[in-house]
């Protein structure tokens, strides 16, 4: 077997380019897949750690009057026998500017199975002393990946007391790998000291929330609102669609990479047909030959997969900070910027790459095993297989198209917002059907064109020659089609999203300045603003949370009971906001909807409308501190980027119904007013921190930055996929370059100049790529539709308007031709440099 394997591998010594192409294909496919999986694995690890923390699996108590909880509340509840535990949360700035979440706990009363409940932190670390955690100088529990922000080396971490940006020192550090990134856990007394020292809380009397073991409280104590743990969405649930999106893109890259692999394997085998025949003649059995080829495949696969995983980890390291920022800003999910990869990541990466390789190589092995020993040497027998392959491709494409139709029909029968995986499968089926139909279509088109060009010999030759190249080019053109159409689909979706998002932002951000005043100063500031001549209108907001209990359809059907946490948001309708606020659906006119809103009706966001099938005219039953209330829905509004269902009502109603504390204050200025001067006076008059006031441009800038970061990874993966497809095309062209030159030699001998031959080659490939691009345009637009109308709705609960960008379409066509011309340039240059006599010498050989 060793001799056999060495003989097979010796082919690559003489054709190192093919080996490079094969390994490159494997490397790229594996790297993109592994990179995304590394990001997903790290993010999931962070979610798992966050979920393991007490705050997500415990019931919560809050004051019904919206006031902040105090130590007295806690003590009163404990004295009356209610098993609650206090938590104090805040943020502290590390020396390097990183914002760290500080959670102060009382380990003696913290209930349930949370990691601190057992022994106040000793369970998390296996070290330390319970008393040390509770008594000065206390302890700071943190995950090792939080150390970098504090400038502490892992070796010196235990017991270190690093300085914070405000000059305070943290209690001695204890490592707790189970904690989420950038989170510090300490005794509530230590946390109160630090947060008071940084000016975040006025005194140690304040606590953030009270928690209880799930189900420990049958009902909320008087004056308190109870939120059950199961009603709190975990970061893992919220971000599921984001990761699915990434996985789908990575799968696309993997498929495109495997196309290269299959092309390289097919070529390597075709060129070794003679060797295989000789080996069979020398007494190697067919089974042994296929086994040796499979072994060769596994060996190369292992090298490619290991290199790919290394590349993937590097890629993930580069992209993870952007992804972490995106997940943080979109979903509030904390993701560490350091990779944490479980063992199954490595095993999975290897398995997927080797599995993909086996899939790509199985066709080649199957064909090799079916050829008889006497037929092995005949390239014609090998190529005859291509015609059968075209028929099989057309049939396979038909099956994929039927599967796509079935999925579309199934999705149409589902309630809106359902079928995320089916949506991706639908897009996958569209891609697969088109890719499989491409080579048969190109074959038919070329045959027809060859017939039409019969009076132009050179054109006829070029077209006939292209038909001969098709077996080797087909996989590369399929890869190009997939990459181009996915690129167009995703860029149209992102472009449409950006357009809609910016427009929506313009509409929503009606005020020039936004202020987040301290609750105790709210009224005074509001009164002061009312007296300023520059201020045209004050737009007070407020927010609260509620439980949606039932939907009463407007048509008089039976109520639908639901249990869904929703956020309630208050706005101030008026001359500034009302004309600009976007509405997606109203029962009557916009004016009627706003009139109803002014009377106390509510608007709901599209996410909630889609998820529960609610429309204008329906009524919602909500839990509130004053008991259940039923409110009529006057309109549905788009609410991009919000993962939760939201109910909108006028701020005064919200304050009254939900006892909500005041939120931010939008300041709409009179025409010609000096925003800077007003800001300065306002900050000065109330001694407000500078960052409590932000202008509209600042909000837009932050929102746009978040948006751009969200799609950084999408764009990066897309560009890489297109790069891989270009590589596939280049590899295919280089692989057949010498054979092509031999075919061109007789034409040169017949008097066609070399420049003309070079142009012919460019025209052949440019034309093919243009044809691929023309197929990619409708396919790309269909993918945009799938992303916008199916996947987006299922993943996020809102639908984007479908935008088409002629510029993107032209760019797709130009990219197709550009990629082909770049890929063709090297072989053409070689042709250009080959002396004419050498061409004939090659022909003779």
């Amino acid at each position: 077997m060793a001799t056999l394997l060495a003989t097979l591998l010796s082919h690559y010594r003489r054709h190192p380019g093919q080996l490079v192409m094969l390994l490159l294909g494997l490397w790229v496919a594996s790297a993109l897949w592994s990179g995304v999986q590394a990001i997903n694995a790290s993010a999931r690890d962070s979610y798992a750690r966050a979920e393991a923390l007490f705050s997500t699996d415990l019931d919560r108590l809050e004051r019904r009057d919206g006031e902040a909880l105090t130590r007295d509340n806690y003590l009163a509840l404990r004295l009356s026998g209610v098993p609650v535990s206090p938590l104090l949360e805040g943020t502290l700035e590390a020396a390097d500017g990183t914002r760290l979440t500080v959670i102060g706990i009382d380990p003696l009363t913290l209930p349930g199975s949370s990691i601190f409940a057992i022994a106040g932190g000793t369970a998390a670390t296996g070290t330390g002393d319970f008393t040390d955690f509770l008594t000065p100088p206390w302890q700071t529990q943190l995950a090792p990946d939080s150390l970098a922000a504090l400038g502490v080396a892992p070796r010196e971490a235990q017991g270190a007391t690093p300085l914070l940006a405000d000059g305070q020192r943290l209690p001695p550090l204890i490592l707790a790998p189970a904690l989420p990134p950038d989170t510090l856990v300490m005794d509530i007394a230590a946390a109160a000291l630090l947060l008071a020292g940084s000016g975040q809380i006025a005194s140690g009397e304040q606590i953030t929330r009270l928690v209880a073991a799930p189900g420990a409280l049958a009902e909320a104590p008087a004056g308190f609102a109870l939120t059950r743990a199961e009603a709190l969405a975990s970061p893992g649930q919220l971000t599921e669609s984001f990761h699915l999106n990434l996985t789908a893109l990575a799968l696309l890259s993997l498929v495109v990479g495997l196309f290269i692999v299959q092309a390289a394997l097919g070529l390597a085998l075709e060129q070794r047909l003679g060797m295989l025949r000789t080996l069979r003649a020398l007494g190697v059995s067919g089974r042994a030959l296929v086994a040796a080829l499979a072994l060769e495949l596994a060996l190369l696969g292992l090298i490619g997969a290991l290199a790919g995983i290394a590349g993937g980890v590097w890629l993930a390291r580069v992209l993870l900070p952007d992804v972490a920022a995106t997940l943080g800003s979109l979903y509030g999910a904390g993701v560490g910027a350091e990779l944490r990869l479980p063992w199954h990541y490595w095993a999975g990466g290897l398995a997927v790459t080797l599995g993909g390789l086996l899939l790509a190589g199985s066709g080649v092995l199957w064909r090799a095993s079916r050829l008889s020993v006497l037929g092995l040497g005949q390239a014609r027998a090998w190529r005859a297989g291509f015609h059968r392959q075209l028929t099989a491709m057309a049939a396979g494409g038909g099956v994929a198209a039927l599967a796509g139709l079935a999925l579309a029909a199934w999705l149409a029968s589902q309630p809106p917002g359902e079928g995320l995986v089916a949506g991706f499968a639908l897009v996958g089926a569209m891609l697969m059907a088109s890719a499989l139909w491409l080579p048969p279509l190109l074959g038919l088109a070329l045959a027809g064109l060859t017939h039409l060009a019969r009076r132009r010999p050179l054109a006829q030759w070029a077209l006939a020659d292209l038909q001969l190249q098709l077996p080797r080019l087909s996989l590369a053109t399929m890869a190009l089609l997939i990459a181009l159409s996915a690129n167009l689909g995703v860029s149209s979706m992102v472009g449409g999203f950006r357009l809609t998002f910016l427009e929506w932002l313009d509409q929503r951000l009606a005020a020039e300045l936004y202020l987040r005043p301290p609750a105790e100063q709210f009224e005074a500031i509001d009164a002061w603003l009312a007296e300023q001549p520059e201020v045209a209108e004050r737009l007070a907001t407020a927010r609260s949370d509620a439980q949606l209990l039932a939907v009463e359809p407007g048509g008089g059907e039976a109520d639908t009971a639901v249990q869904r946490p929703v956020s309630v948001y208050g706005i101030t309708p008026g001359a500034t906001l009302t004309p600009r606020w976007p509405l997606a659906a109203t029962q009557g006119s916009r004016e009627t909807a706003w009139e109803a809103f002014g009377r106390g009706d509510i608007f709901i966001n599209e996410q909630l409308a889609v998820a529960e099938g609610i429309g204008p005219g329906d009524r919602l039953r909500l839990s509130s501190p004053r008991g259940e209330i039923t409110l009529a829905v006057a309109a549905v509004y788009p609410d991009y980027g919000n993962p939760r269902g939201q109910v909108l009502m006028a701020t005064p109603y919200l304050t009254e119904r939900f006892a909500a504390p005041p939120g931010s204050l939008g300041i709409a200025l009179a025409p010609g007013a000096d925003a800077a001067a007003l800001s300065a006076r306002l900050l000065d008059a109330f001694d407000l921190p500078r960052d409590s006031l932000i202008d509209q441009d600042g909000v837009k800038r932050i929102a746009t930055e978040i948006f751009e970061r969200t799609f950084t990874i999408t764009r990066a993966l897309n560009a890489l996929t297109l790069g891989v497809a270009a590589l596939a095309l280049l590899a295919s062209l280089l692989a057949q370059a010498s054979e092509r030159r031999r075919r061109l030699a007789p034409l040169w001998a017949l008097g066609v100049p070399r420049a003309r031959l070079a142009h012919l080659q460019l025209a052949q490939l440019g034309g093919t790529a243009l044809a691929v691009g023309l197929v990619a345009v409708p396919l790309g637009l269909a993918i945009t539709w799938g992303l916008v109308a199916v996947i987006n709705v299922a993943a996020f609960g809102w639908r984007l308007p479908l935008h088409f960008f002629p510029g993107e379409i032209l760019l797709t066509l130009a990219t197709a031709v550009g990629v082909a011309l770049i890929a063709a340039a090297l072989p053409v240059l070689r042709l250009w440099r080959t002396p004419p006599r050498a061409l004939l010498a090659e022909e003779a050989a």
């Binding site: 001799t3 003989t7 069979r280 003649a281 007494g283």
Partner: protein, 230 residues
């Protein structure tokens, strides 16, 4: 060493079935040499393929080294070929990615009977000394065929099957190669079955048979045709 008994072989063609071998009987003893002649398309190569176990007869029996090849599975036929048969082709069929030395040793290695001293002697005798590290494309046609002969004889096979071994060579080179082939066959004691068009190539061999219309017959000695590729 090789026995064919009532061997029939028919190929399907677009024009209908083509009967290539029609009840062929042949017996070749150890150390004997036989030239097989016939017109193009007469079935010489088919007979050679059947003798090597590369193909199976429709009916009849082929026995190689005492074993009926039709009764053997493909892996066993491959092993029998590897260990018993040496093949020399008109088109050489060397492995282009292996060096001269590696090509020479290939079959012996596959059969697990490599003898470095014998390989070295073969290299010298084939006139390929100093070219061990070259690749087949760097050799002349005659050198390539000498190398192919060396590869076939390196495992010291009991039976050497040669299909037009000089068909691709000029007259002078063909003479040299043939002389070398026969000398090495004598030296190793192998049985030789050679397919050829050329009476001059066939002449030094023990026997000569004509294949015509699917049947074997002794060559008519009165015919004095000369092959173009002798």
């Amino acid at each position: 060493m090789l026995e064919l008994h009532q061997v029939h072989k028919t190929y399907a063609t677009p024009q209908g079935p083509l009967r290539v071998l029609d009840g062929v009987d042949l017996s070749l003893g150890a150390g004997e040499s036989l030239a097989l002649m016939g017109e193009s398309g007469s079935g010489k190569s088919t007979l050679l393929h059947l003798a090597a176990g590369l193909d199976l007869p429709d009916t009849g029996e082929v026995r190689l080294a005492g074993r009926a090849i039709s009764a053997l599975g493909e892996p066993d036929r491959a092993r029998l070929r590897r260990e018993t048969v040496g093949l020399v082709f008109q088109q050489f069929h060397l492995v282009p990615s292996l060096s001269v030395l590696d090509n020479l040793r290939l079959q012996a290695r596959l059969a697990g009977v490599e003898d470095p001293a014998w390989s070295a002697a073969l290299i010298r005798r084939l006139g390929l000394a100093g070219m061990e590290r070259r690749y087949p494309e760097q050799l002349s046609g005659g050198q390539q065929q000498r190398l192919a002969i060396g590869r076939a004889l390196a495992p010291r096979p009991a039976l050497l099957l040669a299909d037009e071994p000089t068909g691709n060579l000029d007259e002078a080179t063909a003479g040299e190669v043939l002389e070398l082939l026969l000398e090495l066959v004598r030296q190793t004691g192998a049985t030789l079955l050679m397919v050829t068009h050329s009476p001059r190539v066939a002449a030094p061999l023990d026997r000569c048979l004509m294949l015509s219309r699917g049947r074997l017959a002794p060559r008519d000695a009165s015919r004095n045709d000369t092959g173009a590729n002798a």
